[in-house]
């Protein structure tokens, strides 16, 4: 529901769009008053309606976004236990300084980073390739486009539980296939890299199609004559991909990289459920405990809400850092063009 007309809101003080009809010779006072009232109401409407329309979002954001954020920050400066969350004891920055010496925090950060890399890089590369294939003239192209998106539509929990079965040590399908090839069974869950690889696989499986569709949309906006002139110059398909598609897609690639990075930083469901009943430890050696899992373990298993809040804020700061780096890169890209 937009304002009645498409005109921009007038600057404060100027009268609204007044009726263009010629003013009758002698408008009486009542008519003038009515007109003034209508114009006032109209001005108010133009001015305040947008706020009214965004108000629901704003209220929800304040209640469920900003307030928890600030309250978490406040809690991170206290010693708070879940056994008695209303009792808070001021400790200043202690929850943050102890993170500095916390081997489990650094371990989780490292795992988040490595899992993030081995899931994001192949994921985006594969998505780009898929998008390129989908961009060809294909029979039943809509079917393929929907097909690549289906993994995204499954729930994380369902996908992870199935993958945990596939990666089982004794009766998992992947080990069975490896066995057929003469490779010894791998204890996926208890190895360091094998576990991280398995968790990454779930992420890759789920998000590749999603990114492929974003790339596809961007590819279809690339002017065809660029390809035609490249073809005239004798460029092969691969050369066209490298020299026409990729440069045109650069902003899109940057966008997906940022979104994937943020997703990877918050990775939680996959590693949590991959460990089955073991829950938040992320493996017997914490080998796939991500920051999200460590936060959950501190807050909801060990019941230290203050420490968990500090981890949450540390994660928030890391995300801000990523956003800043992204902004810098985007600016340089724009300049270089």
């Amino acid at each position: 529901m937009s304002p009645p007309t498409g005109t921009a809101p007038p600057a404060a003080g100027t009268p609204g769009v007044s009726p263009p009809a010629p003013v009758p010779a002698g408008p009486d006072a009542a008519e003038l008053r009515r007109r003034a009232r209508r114009s006032r109401r109209y001005r108010r409407d133009l001015r305040w309606s947008p706020y009214a329309f965004v108000a629901p979002f704003l209220l929800f954001f304040l209640a469920f976004g900003l307030f928890p954020l600030l309250y978490t920050g406040w809690a991170s400066l206290h010693r708070v236990e879940l056994t008695d969350p209303t009792h808070m004891e001021w400790v200043g920055l202690r929850n943050y300084t102890r993170l500095w010496d916390d081997e489990f925090f650094w371990n989780a950060l490292r795992n988040t980073l490595t899992i993030g890399i081995i899931s994001t890089v192949p994921q985006l590369a594969m998505a780009l390739g898929l998008a390129h294939l989908l961009n060809y003239r294909l029979r039943a192209s809509t079917f393929w486009r929907v097909a690549v998106l289906t993994p995204y539509a499954t729930s994380i929990a369902a996908a992870t539980l199935v993958f945990a079965l596939l990666f089982g040590r004794d009766y998992g399908m992947i080990n069975w296939v490896l066995g057929q090839l003469g490779v010894d069974a791998v204890d996926w869950q208890n190895g360091h890299w094998s576990a991280q690889l398995a968790v990454s696989t779930i992420v890759i499986w789920r998000w590749t199609g999603y990114n492929a569709l974003i790339y596809l949309a961007a590819m279809q906006a690339v002017p065809r004559d660029l390809y035609e002139s490249a073809a005239l110059d004798g460029a092969s398909r691969w050369q066209q991909f490298r020299h026409v598609t990729i440069p045109s897609l650069r902003p899109t690639i940057l966008f997906t990289a940022v979104v994937s990075t943020i997703g990877a930083t918050q990775l939680f469901g996959e590693p949590l459920l991959f460990s089955g009943s073991a829950g938040a430890t992320g493996g017997s050696d914490h080998q796939y405990q991500t920051l999200g899992l460590y936060l959950y373990e501190q807050g909801w298993i060990n019941l230290h809400l203050g420490r968990a809040s500090a981890i949450a804020w540390a994660m928030f700061l890391i995300l801000l850092l990523i956003a800043a780096v992204n902004w810098l890169i985007a600016r340089r890209l724009r300049k270089s063009q």
Binding site: R79, L82, F104, A164, N190, T281, H286, I301, N302
Partner: protein, 444 residues
Amino acid sequence: MRSRSRSHRRRAVVLAAVCALGAGLLGGCADDGGDDRAGGSGGPDTKGRTTLTVGVFGVFGYKQAGLYDEYMELNPDIAIKETSIERNENYYPQLLTHLSTGSGLADIQAVEVANIAEITATQADRLVDLSKAPGVRKEDFIPWKWQQATTGDGRTVGLGTDIGPMAICYRKDLFRAAGLPTDREEVGKLWAGDWDKYIETGRRYQRKAPDGTSFVDSAGGVYKAVVAGSPRRYYDTAGKVIYKDSPAVRQAWGHAMDAATGKLTARLQQFQKEWDQAFANGRFATVSCPPWMLGYIKEKAGPAAEDQWDVAAAPRPGNWGGSFLTVPAASRHKDEAIKLAAWLTAPEQQAKLFAKQASFPSAQSAYALPQVAGARHPYFGDAPTGKIFAEAARGVPAQILGPKDLVIDQNIVDIGVLQVDRQGKSPQDGWRAATRTIDNALDE
């Protein structure tokens, strides 16, 4: 004219959509408001009955055993509603926050034995003292069970439901193939009184083990079974954490390490999919089993293993699992809730629950009742389970529990023991990893 009517129609559609959304939103809020009131039950229902809510985790079996229906028949003015959260690790933090704010609570809340020490120590003020509730008799309960939910100044905030006295479930076919006796009396004698003998039996088994089978499912299971039989493990009587120097922990750790490094285990992790699959495929010969696990084994091992499994007495009795019922002080129908909690945990009802759901009674006066005394389990070769577990229950020592028992226990098993059993690390490395994790978890 035409375009006008269309725009009218569109406006009407938009308006309707907005109204629907708004109504949904408001409805959602209203619902939440209702749930926030203690009990979530509000006033009397349409038939004028008082609705009591019971909050549990997993399957408590009251509904399945028909106990709620029976109570509602006895008390026509009461309706009972149960809400269950599948896993205790999700249920318990929620219970803590609800208790501290005094809202969102059911009239009766269940508490797992691993959490009861923390609840008793930190939440006693927010719970009703049930020791003097009408119909509750201290003598009915096993003494250590009663003690676990009693504060220093003698307030009992939780009534015992079931307990988990442990036996050893074993596979007769695998024992026979390995040249060991199969009769449950003789099997019990193999290791009676000493876990060392159990490990020794394991070595004997492994020498002639059928291909691809192991003596025990996991080193973690051995650890849990041994440590559960000691009165003092993670805390001393003064409430100090002593797990690093505790003789009980050292002994249990030693046996678990013997099992792991001696290759007696199938290197599994309990309650994971692979564990279930190993039951189905008969990959290990023994597992320490509280009564509640018999149903689990039957389900996972399936009809193919019918009459292969049997139950023998454990080397030493220990307890694994069991719960309590508490009544929050913020309950809206406190008196009715107390009555219901007392009724549900009375010996007669515990016996009925055992007959239907295999939850072993914590009320010792129930052991003489025919449902318990005469109980046999057809799947386990008609083993006299009532007798075996009652005997084990009487032998369980009164265990000193501390607030962080669960965290310490879980990390020793899931970090320390698992690293040795599954990753092949040395016992020293495993122990160091476990203590580092526990120290970090206990540090507030």
